[in-house]
Structures are given as C-alpha cells and as structure tokens.
C-alpha cells in the first residue's frame, strides 16, 4: 500500500525526497526544509491527504541537524498514512503548513513552544502550552526535567490595536443597519479560565458587541504538566498511569491505545481474550466519555435534569470500573502485552444490567430534548462547520462524523479485532451542535451493541502474552526462583527493552482519533512520545465557530465539542 505511494512520490519529486521507509504500514519520507511545502501540498492535493493529524518534533542533540519535525498525514479516501520528516538544525526554520491545513497553526505553535523550532510564514507563532514568560524549551533534551519556572502575569490575547480595529468594523456594521448612530464600543470579556462552562481550565477572550461575539481568541495550557517530558523520564510501563490523566473521562481508552502503540513498536501480538477485553473496556470508556459530554452539554443549554439521567448510568459504569480496576477515574488497567488482570466474576451480568439502564436513559433524554422546540432553537445550525473545513481543522471522531463523513478508526484501520464486530457508524448532516449531540447518542447505542457482542463471544484463554521480555513473571516465580526475581528486577528497574524505531499507534478515542507517536532508541524509556489529542485541533477551531454567534451559542458549542483539558494541555 504505502510502497506504491512512495514510488509515485519518488517519481514525482526525485531527489527532493531524501529517503523513504515503510514503518508499520506508514509511508515515511524525508525531505529538506525547502521542499517541505511542495511535497505537503502535493500530498494534500494529489494524494488526497486531507487530514493533518499532528506535527511532532523530536530532539536528537547529537545530530548535526538536531530537530526532526514530523507531519503526520492521513488520506481517508485512499487510506494513506504518511509521515513527512524534515530535519532542521537549531535556529533553522521550517516553512509553515498553515496555508495547507488550518490546524497546522496550533500544532506548529506547539513544536515551536516545546522545542524551539521556528516556522516561517506562521501567522501567530507564540507559545501555546507553556506560559508566555517561560524561558527555554521544555522538550529539548538539555532542558532539565526538575527545572520549574514561576510565571505569573496574564497574557492579553488581544492588543489594543486589534480591539480598536474590531470596534471600528462592528461600528461600521451597526451604523449601516442602525440609524441611532450610538457609539458601540466592544466589551472585552474573559470566558474562563474559571468559568462554569469551560469544564476545566480554558480561557477564551471575546470581544462582545452586546451579546454577539465579534472576535474570539483562546488560550490553553492551564493544565499543562508536560506529559511528554514525563514520559521520557519513565519506563514505557510507568507511562501507563499518566495516560489516565489525558482524557480523564475515558481513561481506559487511553490505557488501551497506549499499550497498543507500544505493542506496535515491540511487534508483539496480544491474546484473543485480551483483545476482546480491551474492546469491552474501550467501549465502556467511550460510553462514559459520551455520557459526560452530553450531560455537561445539556446542562450548559439549561436542561439540567438530563444530567442526572445520564450520570446515573455513568455512575453504574464507574462502579464496574471500580471493581475492575480498583479506581473509578484513574483506571491504569491495560498493560503492555496484556491487561493488569482478568475480568472479575459477574462482570458480564453487571455490564449487561447497566447497558439496559443506558438504553432507558437514552430513551428518556432523547425523549425530553430531541424534538423539544427550545432545544432545537438552541442547537440546530449553531456552530455548524462544513466537511471540508472540519477536515482542514483536523477534526476526527463524533465532531467530524456530525458533518457527514463516516470516518472511524475502528473501521478505517481496525485494531483489537474491531473488524469482527457488527456496528454502524452514525453520521450527521450539517455538522452543527445538534448533529454532534445526536451522533453521540447514536454512538452510545453502537457501543452498547459492540459490548453485547464482545461479551457473548468472549474467548477463553490467557489474558497476557507469554513473553518474559514484556510481561512481569508470576509472583511465585519472583519469590521462588532466581530467574524470576531477576526478570522482575530488570523489567521494573530497566523497563521493557523496546527495539529502536518509531511507530504511530492510534485508535478511536472518546472524542476522535487518539494517537501516540512513539520513538524508541532501544532502551527501557521512550526517547519521545507525542500524543495526538483529538480535542487539540478541534479546540483550535473554537474561535472560528463562535465568532458571529452569541454568548449562549458559544457555551453550547463548547460543550458539544467535548474539550477535555487533561489531554488538550497534557
């Protein structure tokens, strides 16, 4: 698959393509910084790579060209998975891809912020995750992990000049329609970082003309704890509990996809029972994710009662998690090569019981809102985005499917044996808030369907693979034999020895494609882990969605995008 694409590209560009490789089905090409835009444009226009998933920078201090910038591309129509690599020396700039994909804006800002790679032609190259007073670049290998920096001042997101300009423009609009001729100064208001509707810590500075949002700009990073730096400082396995804190509404999904990514790099095949368990817990996590999102979204629109109808079900699922993992939120259940332990007896019955309650809750809530005139007025056509634009902004998951594009990683590139299950991909039509909400309702039904199938044909057998290089030895062996003890010691202290290489492991997260781009240098710790959080590119389009709408619309849209600060800020 990727080989043909690589041949085509080599024919087209010749020596401009410095090197090619096929890594786990991903076509990887190296290009010089000067050729990057041409190749990227070709990939977008000719090879239908309409989705820029992520931009990942890697630091290799010992190389002459120290930084490697990876553009992760995806073609939905042709199923290409392409990675364009650009090596740059310190201070050398990369041509910005913002004219090609709108989501490149934030992705490139992140690379600039954490690694200090400048992008030429970028419209707004500022720090994004770290504070604007932060000095140095946190993800460079020579930045010591312990070195904190106290940063205090608040950044003004709009300059006085911009406010004045926007004021003048909106005054012009007002003067045309309104003959009163009253001066209309814009009011600058911060929505967040502590605001009831941000459900986390996000900040959106808006310029308001009455209730209408004239301009908006968002700031993130309030929850930034540099997960990626932490990952470099821990063994592959020790990263697992950190993944709980990414999208904390569906921690099990993060667990499973992280394990999946490392297994891809290791080249191990997990057991059939483990695959089925991962499917079940992933879908349960998807249910909790959607339940939280919908409940919060409906509360934001003022339909408070639905919150309890949905949260009661989530509570039931959390009780299952509690029994299964020992905790409700920070599950830490998956292991590289298997799971922490098998399901508990009675798991299937309890899960089926709560799925029954889920059906009831969906019926109750959709009965209350789906055809409610007020709800329709508040959501239909609000925050609508077209399919093309959504792709350019890097949408995936329910928000992309709401625009009518049936892209789901579980179908596109099945993992954990998703191809064996019978399920539909619900899509919307208009890409508005209503569609996003309704797509989630339908997806919950499909998830329940998958869980029921998986429980029915749950295979017997071991959960973990039989590989002492990956899986911890049983306790009897640790205490009873010298080999077992040494094995345990090596795995705990040195970590799983992952062969040098790169892999982008991805799966369908709660709000889109969740990916981990892992680089190993052959030791027990990752050299680089780049998370592809689904809500990061989605949130970058937020100001575009709310401009021109009203404050209540902005709140309704924010809820329907399902922004989880834990994975947004990492």
């Amino acid at each position: 698959m990727s080989r043909k694409l690589l041949e085509r590209l080599q024919q087209e560009f010749g020596t401009a393509i410095l090197r090619t490789a096929d890594q786990h089905g991903d076509a990887v090409i190296w290009v010089a910084p000067k050729d990057a835009t041409v190749v990227l444009r070709h990939l977008r226009d000719r090879e239908q790579c309409e989705l820029l998933l992520d931009v990942a920078g890697v630091d290799y201090p010992e190389r002459a060209k120290r930084f490697e910038v990876n553009y992760l591309l995806r073609s939905l129509a042709r199923a290409h998975r392409v990675r364009v690599k650009i090596d740059v020396a310190e201070g050398e700039a990369v041509e910005s891809a913002t004219p090609l994909w709108r989501c490149a804006d934030w992705h490139e800002r992140e690379v600039f912020d954490l690694l200090g790679v400048p992008f030429r032609g970028h419209p707004d190259l500022r720090r994004i995750l770290c504070h604007h007073e932060f000095e140095g670049h946190a993800l460079r290998k020579d930045y010591p992990i312990e070195q904190g920096q106290p940063c205090v001042s608040t950044e003004k997101l709009f300059g006085d000049h911009e406010i004045e300009q926007a004021s003048r423009r909106s005054e012009g609009v007002a003067a045309a329609g309104d003959e009163s001729g009253l001066p209309s100064d814009l009011l600058t208001v911060n929505i967040g970082p502590s605001h009831p509707a941000t459900h986390g810590a996000l900040r959106v500075e808006v310029l308001l003309d009455g209730e209408t949002v004239v301009r908006a700009r968002s700031e993130i990073g309030y929850l930034h704890r540099c997960f990626e730096k932490e990952a470099e400082d821990h063994t592959w396995h020790e990263v697992m509990p950190y993944t709980d804190r990414l999208n904390y509404c569906s921690a099990l999904l993060n667990n499973a996809i992280w394990a999946h990514s490392v297994e891809k790099l290791l080249g191990v095949q997990i057991t059939p029972r483990c695959r089925a368990i991962r499917v079940i817990v992933s879908e349960l996590a998807r249910l909790t994710d959607h339940l939280v999102c919908l409940a919060a979204n409906l509360v934001d629109i003022g339909a408070l009662t639905n919150y309890w109808y949905l949260y009661n079900v989530r509570e039931g699922i959390y009780q299952i998690f509690d029994k299964l993992c020992g905790s409700r939120l920070t599950t830490n259940y998956a292991r590289i090569g298997g799971m922490s332990h098998d399901l508990y007896p009675g798991f299937a019955e309890e899960t089926l019981f709560h799925l029954g309650r889920l059906d009831e809750a969906i019926r109750d809530v959709t009965g209350l809102v789906a055809r409610n005139r007020i709800f329709l007025d508040r959501t239909v056509g609000v925050g609508a985005i077209s399919r093309e634009e959504a792709l350019s902004w890097g949408y995936t998951g329910p928000c992309l499917r709401a625009t009518g594009l049936a892209y789901d990683v579980r179908r596109f590139a099945p993992y954990f044996g998703y191809e064996e299950y019978d399920f539909d991909i619900p899509v919307g039509e208009h890409g508005d808030t209503y569609d996003r909400i309704m797509v989630r309702f339908e997806e919950m039904k499909q998830s329940a369907r998958i869980i029921r199938q998986a429980l029915r044909k749950l295979p017997e057998g071991p959960v973990n693979i039989d590989d002492p290089r990956v899986i911890l030895p049983p306790k009897e062996s640790v205490y009873g034999s010298i080999e077992g003890m040494m094995n345990q010691f090596k795995l705990i202290y040195e970590g799983i020895q992952v062969p040098a290489g790169e892999a982008y492991g991805f799966g369908e997260g709660g709000n889109g494609e969740l990916g981990f781009f892992c680089v190993s240098n052959g030791t027990g710790r990752p050299w680089r882990v780049k998370v592809r959080p689904p809500c990061f590119p989605i949130f970058s389009s937020y100001s575009r969605l709310i401009e021109g709408g009203m404050i209540p619309d902005a709140i309704a849209i924010l809820g329907s995008l399902n922004i989880i600060a834990g994975e947004l800020d990492r």
Binding site: V189, A197, G302, T305, I374, R378
Partner: protein, 351 residues
C-alpha cells in the same frame, strides 16, 4: 387592615390612642405579618423545589436535617448563611451594592399588600389593586440593575442588562393578559375581581371564554419570565454568566436575592389565583370554612407547576426570549383582549 386597627383600638381601650397612631400600628402589624408569611413561604418553597427537583431527577434531595425528608434543611441553610462572611468586592459601588438586595426584596414585599387571600383578609384593599401590584413589582428591575451595576463585574452587568430587558419586556404581555379580566370584572380592585368569579368553576375568568384561557396561559408563561426561572432564567444562567447579577453576592445579601426570587414566584402564582382561578372560590361543597387555605392551595399548585417546568425544559437564548415576547406573546395577548371584548358584546348580558 380595618380589623387589625379595630383590634388595637379594643386592646388599648377606646379613645386612648389617636387614630393616626392606630393607623400606623395597624399598617406595621400587617407589614410584619406579610413579611413573615412571605419569608416562611419562600423557605418552604426552597425545600419544595429541592424535593421536587430530586423527584424529577431520580434522586432524593435533602434527607438528613430534621429527620423527615430533610424538612429542616431550609432552617439549617438559613443559619449557615447568617454566619457567612459579608463580602463586598473592593471595586464595588458600596452604597448600591448594599442597597440592591433590599430594593429587590421590598419590591416583592410591597406587592403582597393588595393580594386578597380570603374575604376581608387583604392588607390594603386598593381600588387600583391590580395596577398597584404591577407597579410595585416593577421595583424588582431596579434592584437587579442596581446589583449588576454596583458589583463592577462584567458578568453581573450582563445579567442585570438581560434581567432589565427581560422583565420590562415581559411586563407587557403580563399586563395585557389581565386586561380582559378587568373588562369582565369592571374593576381593578383585587377583591372585586375575586368576588366576580364566585359561584362555580365556570365563573373563573380562566374558563369564562377561550380567549381568557389563552390569556391565562400567556400570563402564566410571562410570569415565569418575570421571576427569572428556566426556561427564562437568562439573567442568572449559571453556565453562561457565572451567576448573573448576583455573581458577587454572598451570605445574607445573597439570601435576600434568593428569598425575593421565591417570594416573587409565590406572588405571581397568587396573582394568577386571584385574577384567573377564582381566588378562594371552589366547587367542593362543605369547604367554605377556610377560604384562605383554598386560595393558598391553588397558588401552591401553580408554584409546583412552575417548578416542574423549570426542571424539564432547556433555556432559551436571549434573542429567542425577546422573539417569544414581542412577536408571539404580545400580539397573541392583544388578539385575546380583542376576542374577549367581542365575546362580551356577543354573549354577556350587561346588568
């Protein structure tokens, strides 16, 4: 009022107190009774709201304080709120910040004076009763604007602006909806209006003719908007404006907003009872011993209906709110007014 004054005169002995003093004493007593009743109602309704909300949302609501279903919860809340630190933001306009909750509270308190709970049981039997009630309850707008402006907080200001716009707008359909009743009753005196409805359920103004029934519905919906409750709770909208005009308020000052809200809720229900639902009149034989209870029962039912609506519907957007008021309710209220007039000419025999 007259009875109370007479009572004082009897206790003190005839002629010992000047009529002026008697009048003041009577007025003060009535005001005190009203304030207490209002506070008590508000307290009971906060509990009722939480229990009904709990019932609707498949949970319990308060269960601990006072043994039986958390019945003493409002008292515990009051005690807690009394002990809270009184915070006035540094940049607030102190005078107005302090004054605002009282203005709001007084606005709803004043309106109670003209509500006839039972024959003769009315603090001020004004000939302009209905007009007086609407005028007095308009003070609420000023209280809201004061609090929002004085807080010196943009969210509060937005809440206040929304509140003022909303209440001023919705007063129009509210008042228009009761005009047909005035046509029928031929009086603005609240007692006269209630008396005109005695003699069977079909005498209630809400059921006199189809137009009046629609007027009643308009009144009911507009009154929900008047008291800022979902689906019209835009001045507060906790998810948009943090807490709207009372964002900066805490402790006892906040409690005044809270009490006024519930007092207003009850007030509009009482007005609806008096104006549309026959006041103390009822079709059940043998229940004539407690007209005030009948009145209260009807009002409480209306309050429960408002609570039910609050926990069922989502919230409107601010422009949709105005749309409903100006483009739907007001024209409809005018049609009902005209319709009722025509109906009267056609079917009602004038004495």
């Amino acid at each position: 009022m007259e009875q109370v004054t007479a009572l004082f005169a009897r206790i003190a002995g005839a002629g010992t107190l000047s009529p002026q003093l008697l009048l003041w004493l009577g007025a003060l007593t009535m005001a005190l009774i009203m304030a207490l009743v209002m506070a008590a109602c508000a307290i009971v309704f906060t509990w009722a709201e939480r229990k009904v909300a709990g019932f609707i949302q498949s949970r319990y609501g308060p269960m601990r304080v006072g043994r039986w279903h958390g019945i003493a919860q409002p008292i515990a809340d009051m005690l807690k709120i009394l002990q809270k630190e009184d915070i006035i933001p540094a940049d607030a306009d102190r005078k107005f910040f302090i004054l605002a909750p009282f203005v709001l509270f007084i606005g709803s308190l004043m309106a109670w004076a003209a509500i006839p709970f039972a024959p003769g049981f009315v603090a001020a039997d004004l000939d302009m009763g209905l007009l007086y009630i609407f005028a007095a309850s308009s003070l609420v707008t000023i209280g809201i604007l004061m609090s929002g402006w004085a807080s010196n907080n943009k969210w509060s200001l937005y809440g206040a602006a929304r509140g003022a716009a909303q209440i001023v707008s919705y007063e129009i359909p509210l008042a228009l909806a009761v005009v047909p009743v005035v046509l029928y009753a031929g009086s603005l005196n609240m007692t006269d209006i209630v008396v005109a409805q005695q003699g069977g359920i079909w005498k209630w103004f809400a059921l006199r003719n189809p137009f009046l029934f629609v007027s009643f519905l308009i009144y009911f919906l507009a009154s929900i908007a008047e008291v800022n409750r979902t689906p019209f709770d835009l001045p507060e909208t906790e998810s948009e404006l943090v807490a709207g005009y009372h964002t900066e308020y805490s402790g006892m000052r906040f409690a005044f907003f809270f009490l006024a809200e519930y007092a207003n809720l009850f007030l509009v229900s009482c007005i609806a009872t008096a104006v549309f639902l026959g006041g103390w009149g009822h079709p059940v034989p043998g229940l004539n011993f407690a007209p005030a209870l009948v009145f209260l029962a009807k009002a409480v039912l209306l309050v429960l209906a408002q609570i039910w609506i609050r926990w069922t519907l989502p919230r409107l957007r601010v422009d949709q709110l105005m749309h409903v008021c100006w483009k739907v309710m007001i024209p409809l209220a005018l049609v009902c007014l005209a319709g009722s007039g025509v109906w009267m000419l056609a079917f009602v025999r004038f004495a």
